[in-house]
């Protein structure tokens, strides 16, 4: 058996149900960017090193570049496009803006998703800088030097409702 193999999948993307026939060779990142037009999630290294493609699958942070699209069947996907609600940035997004934790912006969607997962897991807890750094170790930023991102994460922690 070889050649084109297609599979029908049903998933939720940012709360919206979605049915697609996908090529089994595709990544979740390609499904999002090419099939669904959600280009907020970035293609960086393609090998799970940089985190630019980070999304939440059933609220778990993964690298969409090494996640097969067919694995998203039955799952709830959250990408950067779904974070702002009714024109209002999410508390995490707002914290990144307020702290100036963005320069070129390429890593930002992945970072925001990583912080979003982190804030959900640590809501109401006191966290150390080391814990924040470790939880964001899968995301690379070549501009900021991370200090502003660290501050943005801390600010995000002040909004436990997110």
């Amino acid at each position: 058996m070889s050649g084109l193999q297609l599979k029908e999948i049903e998933l939720y993307v940012n709360g919206t149900p979605c049915k697609r026939v996908v090529d089994v060779r595709k990544t979740l990142l390609e499904l999002l960017r090419e099939d669904l037009g959600l280009t907020g999630t970035k293609y960086g290294c393609g090998a799970g090193e940089c985190g630019a493609c980070s999304v939440l699958v059933d609220d778990v942070l993964v690298d969409a570049c090494i996640y097969l699209a067919v694995w998203a069947h039955g799952k709830k996907i959250r990408t950067i496009e779904g974070e702002a609600k009714k024109g209002r940035l999410s508390p995490v997004q707002q914290a990144y803006v307020t702290e100036g934790a963005i320069q070129c912006g390429f890593c930002t969607p992945g970072f925001v998703m990583a912080t979003t997962a982190f804030v959900q897991q640590h809501a109401g807890q006191t966290v150390t800088d080391d814990t924040i750094r470790k939880a964001h170790a899968g995301n690379l930023c070549r501009c900021t030097g991370y200090q502003h991102i660290l501050r943005a994460v801390k600010k995000s922690m002040q909004f436990p409702d997110e």
Partner: protein, 290 residues
């Protein structure tokens, strides 16, 4: 897009076993963090896949009636690093799980894949060696169990026979009850790096003596390995700084690190010896805390 020639989803372990029997050239994919990257880099070994990603049947951490700890091969590292059972009984494995890659990788990568890919740098391997772990494999010929140390045959070569699926990892009761342990990964970066040297210790004390002592390394030879001469030096001896120094010297007889772009043989030997001290001391501190 990956160059996948054929893709078969297995809905259960039995289905995976049947698919592997019917398609001898197919390979398993679970977490994907290794297989998909190899495909991305142009490997031809994984173009035919049997997919066991996310099988609930393979994702568990449990205590069996005989108090052995059983870990499903599809358990991801985040589960291991956060499991109360693992943190309480197998801290050496919790340490190892927490030192793999970064958060995204730990959310995706499975312990079974970490062992089956045969990498000498696998973080979970030294911990499982130090815990005398058994691997339970299933094929259409039935189940078989093999000690983890016998599973590693050579660099990137493991005793995974055609048609076999690693189902679970068993830590026998007598191998962990009353033991304290620690794993430390020495790497150039604190995250997202491959171990230059990984060291795991599992030990049991009786009064001021070491009643049992196991030490294992990753990247200290062609496969993860135990250190029989260091262990012999340690067992039944009075705990002292002198003993820790003797162990740190003895491990050098048990290892055979090589020079690579990552580190020279000489540097690795130095780290191996230093880690014997550091990891043994931390394990001893954990005994005192209990």
């Amino acid at each position: 897009m990956f160059d996948i020639q054929s893709y078969m989803k297995a809905g259960s372990v039995d289905e995976a076993v049947a698919l592997l029997a019917a398609h001898p050239n197919a390979r398993l994919v679970a977490g994907g963090t290794d297989v998909l990257i190899r495909l991305r880099h142009g490997s031809r070994d994984f173009t035919r896949l049997v997919d066991i990603h996310g099988l609930a049947e393979l994702r568990f951490i449990s205590l069996d009636p005989l108090q052995n700890i059983r870990i499903g091969s599809g358990t991801v590292f985040t589960d291991l690093a956060q499991s109360d059972l693992i943190l309480r009984h197998l801290p050496v494995l919790a340490d190892a799980a927490g030192s793999v890659g970064g958060p995204q990788i730990r959310n995706m990568a499975t312990i079974g894949g970490n062992i089956c890919n045969g990498a000498p740098s696998a973080d979970s391997a030294p911990a499982l060696f130090a815990l005398n772990a058994l691997l339970e494999l299933k094929s259409n010929r039935g189940f078989r169990q093999v000690p983890v140390a016998d599973f590693y045959l050579g660099p990137s070569v493991v005793d995974l026979k055609p048609g076999e699926v690693l189902v679970s990892i068993i830590i026998p009761r007598e191998a962990y009850q009353g033991y304290a342990g620690h794993y430390y990964k020495y790497a150039m970066r604190k995250a997202m790096d491959i171990a230059t040297i990984g060291c795991a210790v599992s030990l049991k004390t009786s009064g001021n003596r070491l009643a049992d002592y196991r030490i294992a390394y990753g990247v200290a030879g062609p496969t993860p390995l135990r250190c029989p001469s260091a262990e012999k030096t340690a067992v039944n001896q009075m705990i002292s700084d002198t003993l820790v120094s003797k162990i740190a010297a003895a491990v050098e007889d048990d290892v055979s690190p090589r020079t690579s772009w990552r580190a020279t043989r000489e540097f690795r030997l130095h780290i191996i010896s230093e880690l014997a001290r550091k990891v043994t001391r931390t394990a001893l501190d954990r005994v005192r805390k209990e």
